[in-house]
């Protein structure tokens, strides 16, 4: 967006977001949010700028810009803000205001796939189980881990854990440390064969409905497998 064209303040409606409960108007412009932000300066983005633009009534400009999508949603800005502005929630709200088809590709495709197939990779159930068992076999070959198996869909286990998609895709090695710990601790745990993905694609796109669906599926898994405790390493 052109930053040097004067913006007529009369044309903006600073009251447009009064009903939003993120405290965006309380900003002191202390810049602490921008100071902690790991992506401040990337494409001229910084969280303070976004907060101020919303407060001034420039919501449309923010929604149209790339800035909300540069954010990694790490939440440090919100944590550090002395005025208690809910910057992460505000970012999600802004993201949600963009029409679905304009949501950046990887996020919109990932979300669609996750909603349709239970995981954003659209990985078939058989392939998922094959990968887990294959890695499980490798673990069982390690000294002290003889007899290790991956408990899938184990009813009545103590812990249900979700899986990040890259762990069954490019980073399968990263599954092993978890499992070694479970084994050493004698933990009673399991993985669901359906809707196993923990990544909340709805969270990143600001799509509350989608988030509800995906979280609901995890809850459903816990009900089906009669498990009380969720380990959600996201």
């Amino acid at each position: 967006m052109a930053e040097n064209q004067p913006i007529h303040i009369e044309a903006l409606n600073p009251d447009c977001c009064n009903q939003w409960l993120y405290q965006q108007d309380a900003c002191l412009t202390c810049a602490m949010c921008a100071s902690v932000c790991p992506v401040a300066g990337v494409d001229n983005y910084d969280p303070r700028k976004m907060v101020r633009m919303v407060s001034l009534g420039m919501v449309d400009q923010v929604v149209q810009s790339r800035w909300p999508w540069i954010c990694t949603m790490c939440g440090k800005c919100e944590q550090s803000c002395p005025m208690g502005i809910d910057i992460s929630d505000l970012t999600r709200k802004i993201r949600s205001l963009r029409e679905g088809k304009h949501v950046p590709g990887i996020l919109s495709k990932g979300l669609a796939a996750a909603l349709e197939t239970g995981n954003n990779l659209s990985l078939p159930k058989e392939d998922f189980i094959f990968i887990l068992e294959d890695v499980g076999d490798e673990v069982a070959e390690e000294p002290g881990l003889e007899g290790f198996t991956v408990p899938i869909d184990k009813k009545g286990a103590r812990i249900l854990t979700t899986i990040h998609n890259k762990l069954v895709n490019t980073h399968t090695e990263d599954l092993k440390p978890w499992w070694r710990i479970f084994h050493a601790a004698g933990e009673d745990w399991t993985i669901a064969s359906d809707n196993w993905e923990g990544t909340t694609w709805g969270y990143f796109t600001g799509d509350d409905e989608a988030m509800k669906v995906m979280a609901g599926r995890i809850v459903e898994n816990m009900r089906r497998l009669e498990i009380d405790t969720l380990l959600w390493p996201e």
Partner: protein, 413 residues
């Protein structure tokens, strides 16, 4: 009418309490000042003079003057190591207090400093900063290992004067008070919760720590290695203007004290490079405009509050901040970082207010009588930073003004 049969109890021997004591004593009133710490003078007595060659009106010397004045008055009695326990009556009141006998015998101690070197817990043995009322050296019971499980007696055993005597003795006492004056001061904000590594990195210190370093060592020495710090950062509003922590107020004095300290350091250390991270610079003193202009010319003024501090392998401090000029993340290396910590309501305010029936304001301070608030008990008054952030000069004003009210009140009775 005569006021020489009147008694006033002042709670807190900081600059406000001592000023009031001096004023009231001039009217022949009997004044008792209860001070919970081992030394009178409060925070102000520990501050450094910030004059270069010219006085910058920080007010640090006033505390000294008021304390010397109060000590000289025969009708002012300062009780150190003494806390108010409760209060009874409807005015005149009876103030019940509890006094711990000092662990160091004032007559024997010669200030040789051996106990400081022997003590295994830093900060347990304190030294006075001012004209004396009682011993010049004191031991903090809350930190001393002897009071934990009688585990340590190193200082007692090594004292060549035999001046240290461990005892848990406390005496209870009672004072008649025609008026009670609360001058309990403030608590400095503890910045451990901020992402600046306070408590982890020794070279991250508070503004009050910095005052003491400058006062004791003349130059800005680093706690870790005693080297003179050349690259120094001041970070403002640490704990102030912080609605999330419930501190929706500006602490008022920090811009003045930090900028004055910065200029003091520059006057003594020619090569000192100082950065000042701020939100808004607040006015201090009549000379503010010219002082501020000079500060802007000599100090790197950065209108942004940093986010993180990392201690590097070289034992330097890497401060990460949003550069308002380039609108991007930057970091800068410093030898020392000073956090300008805010003035918080004193930790004991709630108990004190409850005991006296005094309304606390929304921020937790004890507002002065004149505040349009709910009714307050007769004969009770509040002054100084117990009522909200203020400078030393303002504490003096608040004490003098309230002394007038008290004298008027006592005269009418």
């Amino acid at each position: 009418m005569n006021l020489n049969n009147k008694h006033v109890t002042i709670i807190g021997a900081g600059v406000a309490g001592l000023t009031a004591a001096c004023c009231l004593a001039d009217w022949d009133i009997h004044v008792s000042v209860l001070e919970k710490t081992p030394f009178p003078g409060g925070h102000a007595i520990q501050l450094t003079c910030k004059a270069t060659d010219t006085c910058v009106k920080c007010g640090a010397c006033i505390a000294e003057v008021k304390l010397s004045g109060a000590i000289r008055k025969p009708n002012v009695h300062i009780f150190t190591g003494t806390q108010m326990e409760s209060i009874s009556g409807q005015g005149p009141y009876r103030v019940h207090y509890r006094s711990h006998s000092p662990l160091v015998n004032a007559d024997r101690c010669n200030g040789c400093g051996i106990c400081f070197k022997k003590c295994p817990v830093p900060g347990t043995i304190l030294q006075g900063q001012a004209p004396r009322v009682g011993p010049y050296v004191a031991i903090r019971r809350d930190l001393c290992r002897y009071f934990d499980n009688a585990a340590c007696t190193l200082c007692r055993d090594s004292c060549p004067q035999g001046a240290i005597h461990f005892s848990n003795e406390a005496t209870a006492g009672e004072l008649k008070a025609d008026a009670v004056l609360v001058a309990t001061g403030f608590s400095p904000y503890n910045p451990a919760a901020k992402p600046y590594g306070y408590g982890l990195f020794q070279n991250v210190i508070t503004s009050l720590d910095a005052e003491r370093v400058l006062r004791d060592h003349y130059l800005m020495k680093r706690p870790t290695d005693g080297r003179t710090a050349q690259r120094i950062a001041f970070i403002q509003c640490v704990g102030s203007r912080d609605a999330k922590s419930g501190h929706l107020w500006c602490s008022k004095i920090c811009c003045g004290s930090s900028l004055r300290m910065a200029r003091l350091i520059q006057s003594r250390q020619e090569n000192a490079e100082i950065s000042f991270f701020y939100i808004d610079v607040q006015t201090f003193g009549k000379n503010f405009h010219s002082f501020y202009k000079e500060a802007q010319e000599n100090i790197k003024m950065i209108r942004a509050i940093p986010g993180d501090i990392i201690n590097t392998k070289m034992d330097e401090l890497q401060v990460i901040y949003f550069d308002p000029d380039t609108h991007s993340s930057r970091d800068a290396i410093f030898d020392l970082v000073v956090l300008s910590v805010g003035l918080m309501p004193s930790a004991g305010n709630a108990r004190m207010a409850g005991e006296l029936g005094w309304p606390l304001d929304t921020q937790g301070f004890m507002p002065p009588r004149s505040s349009p608030n709910q009714p307050v008990p007769k004969g009770v008054f509040t002054i100084g930073t117990a009522t909200g952030p203020m400078s030393i000069a303002e504490s003096v004003s608040s004490a003098e003004q309230t002394a007038f009210e008290i004298i008027h009140f006592l005269g009418e009775r």
